[in-house]
Subunit: 285 residues, 2 copies
């Protein structure tokens, strides 16, 4: 297991930690200002959300590289199934393709997929997961051609209805097996998997398929399951144990901090948030 | 798989469906009025919560039997671990014992255990589950002596921090294996397990250890993870598939409807709720 106590070069900022994924939330820093603030502090990578990139993907990707950082990933494809997906299969696939194009233009090689909830008119997750496999399988060659890997992210089961019928690392790896494309893997997020006693076993199956590891913490008495994530160390997740399991699979990539926190961290000065994130990364992750 | 289209004798009311588990919620019917309303409609069983029983357990249990119903269960022990458990081990065990005494006085043979969240000062669920096993194992002989079986209920992982470090049927059966007492089993609740693709496999392990099966539905876009459960048929759970898996293990007991619904069903006339519950039980469960 890597020792981060003296270095945070493997730390990446997901800009959601500064509120940039929600309109009107956070301090509203520009991508450039965020990039500079990360570079000044020696943070090694950055992950953007599509709305903040807009039509400037090439320019922002270049800016990241000039600052000596790496664009570690892009959030995210549209929901592929479920009640919140774009209306109709063609609309889903068109926006899926657009998200791949943006990732390619940024020159990041990981695009996160949050698959969406239970497809209207069906019950349980089986049929929805089958649709996800079909849609990801169909788009994987296009992503491959553009140098983009697709990271299926299982979400906490509380989102099973509307945001993600994919809820466990086990199911995510099963989907990868079914899709069987070299550029399709998974993202592991502490918030979503911290409770899962099957995790270490499943991660031994993962091999090189872990494309991202996301850090935050689960607050014992969380007040909102979307926007009340904890900073590392403030919750009940066994962060060291989780990273040990992830790294046992061979993962040696970035650790991406993604703290959605409307009531706490998004109200603070972004510089303070970044400094805290670095301190916690070195001490408790 | 049993056919319920012509009979609801296997249907039980958990009084939480009428709001009786939350002070000031629901219509506030007395146990007697609730018993009569169930009896009139041919509902076969009833499950109470401790606050509505108070010191009248013997009397209410007798009243249920006179009405031709069965007291199918009692909710519940105190949280045994975690931030919401009574302060200190002795207080936990005293209240655990009191809940067993109440179940025995009611002459119900199932007492539900919601185990509580992550024990303060620890990280992850491992240590907390170990404490749960110790405490249940210690109390199991006392419950056995009083004819009470203890049903460990795994809760949706969203409750992992404060209400239940026990989140899957897999973990619940592992706990049973560890405790190894004939009167300790599990309760399976649609709300908590509907998303779990490992469920059918796990239930084949359960054998006679399923002590309760709880019905409701998971609303696709739920607004509150505590008090916004759906009536059967209004959500995305595969109710037939779930019951098939439960019955494949050999379960032939009551199906207990437990719909926490502050914003919808608790605001309606209890008679309408009971009638709807019967209709849905016969048609979609």
């Amino acid at each position: 297991m890597r020792d981060f106590s003296e270095s945070h070069a493997a730390l990446a900022l997901n800009t959601a930690t500064l509120g940039h994924n929600v309109e009107g939330a956070g301090a509203g820093w520009s991508p450039e200002r965020t990039i500079d603030a990360c570079a000044e502090r020696g943070i090694g990578g950055i992950v953007f959300w599509r709305p903040e990139i807009g039509s400037r993907a090439v320019e922002i990707g270049e800016r990241v590289r000039r600052a000596g950082l790496k664009t570690v990933g892009l959030c995210r494809t549209p929901f592929l199934v479920g009640p919140l997906a774009p209306a109709g299969r063609q609309a889903v696939m068109d926006d899926f393709k657009a998200s791949i194009d943006m990732a390619a233009a940024l020159q990041t090689n990981v695009l996160t997929i949050v698959v969406g909830g239970v497809e209207p008119g069906t019950k349980g997750v089986t049929e929805s997961l089958r649709l996800v496999a079909d849609r990801v399988g169909e788009m994987a060659p296009y992503a491959e051609k553009h140098g983009v890997r697709l990271a299926l992210e299982p979400l906490n089961p509380v989102y099973g209805g509307d945001r993600s019928c994919l809820t466990t690392v086990r199911d995510a790896l099963d989907l990868c097996d079914r899709i069987d494309a070299a550029n399709v893997g998974i993202a592991v997020d502490v918030y979503h998997v911290w409770w899962d006693t099957d995790l270490a076993y499943q991660l031994r199956r993962a091999g090189g398929r872990i494309l991202g590891y996301h850090l935050c913490d689960w607050l014992a008495s969380t007040t909102d399951v979307l926007l009340d994530r904890g900073m590392m160390g403030d919750g009940v997740a066994d962060l060291r144990g989780l990273r040990r399991a992830v790294e046992s699979s061979g993962y040696g990539g970035f650790c991406e901090v993604e703290v959605f926190s409307a009531g706490n961290w998004w109200k603070r000065d972004p510089g303070e948030v970044l400094d805290t994130m670095i301190e916690r990364f070195r001490s408790v992750c």
